[in-house]
């Protein structure tokens, strides 16, 4: 992981470090109020002082996604992918999924060690691709993960896979 900008800035001068703390406080406030446009602006301000700051880049990408600007979120991810080693695989795949670039999204997830979020995303991509059985398999593996509302997508996949008779058993096992 790249060193935090705060530590980098401090030996050089005290002033920018303070400014960054204030900017993060402001950023935090905008996030709490769901003011995602403003959150993007403040993230950019932090990045102008501390290019490559991981928290700022993450905030910018998440704010863009939550603002339904997935195109811009992808651009932000691409822009930093050359400069830093921040892991944006999940966000990138999610943005591609939202753009309906399903094959690309699936390709992005390929070969990754998957957490439950990535598994949910993969299952949703497979569902849209019409690969219902593969989608069902993932929900089956996630059954024990206590994910809220999982049953909704699980049932949808089963029904779309022509396995409505399995629904009752699946619901009982959740």
């Amino acid at each position: 992981m790249a060193p935090k900008a705060k530590e980098k800035a401090r030996p050089a001068a005290a002033a920018p470090a303070v400014a960054i703390e204030d900017l993060f406080a402001s950023l935090n406030r905008h996030i709490e109020r769901s003011e995602f446009d403003q959150a993007v602006k403040i993230s950019d301000q932090v990045l102008s002082i501390a290019p490559g700051d991981e928290d700022a880049i993450r905030c910018k990408v998440v704010a863009l996604i939550k603002n339904d600007s997935v195109d811009k979120a992808l651009l932000a991810i691409e822009a930093c992918s050359n400069k830093s080693s921040i892991d944006f695989v999940f966000f990138k795949a999610y943005c591609l999924y939202r753009q309906n670039k399903l094959d690309e999204a699936l390709e992005t997830l390929k070969g990754q060690e998957k957490n439950s979020a990535m598994m949910l995303l993969e299952s949703q991509i497979l569902f849209r691709l019409g690969l219902m059985d593969a989608s069902v398999d993932i929900y089956q593996n996630l059954q024990k993960s206590k994910i809220e509302s999982l049953e909704i997508n699980f049932v949808a996949s089963l029904v779309s896979a022509g396995r409505a008779s399995d629904v009752q058993g699946a619901m009982e096992s959740l």
Partner: protein
């Protein structure tokens, strides 16, 4: 009359559960630690 209720088929509902996993990082340790939270808030 009235006619009896009948079940009709519909497309299954899918919700974007992956979206729920998208969250901001914690910024707690990136902000100034202020003990006088209320007063300092007035000066922002």
């Amino acid at each position: 009359f009235p006619p009896t209720f009948q079940a009709v088929p519909r497309n299954p509902i899918v919700i974007d559960l992956a979206y729920n996993a998208i969250d901001f990082p914690s910024l707690e340790n990136r902000m100034k630690k202020d003990k006088k939270g209320f007063i300092s808030r007035l000066w922002r």
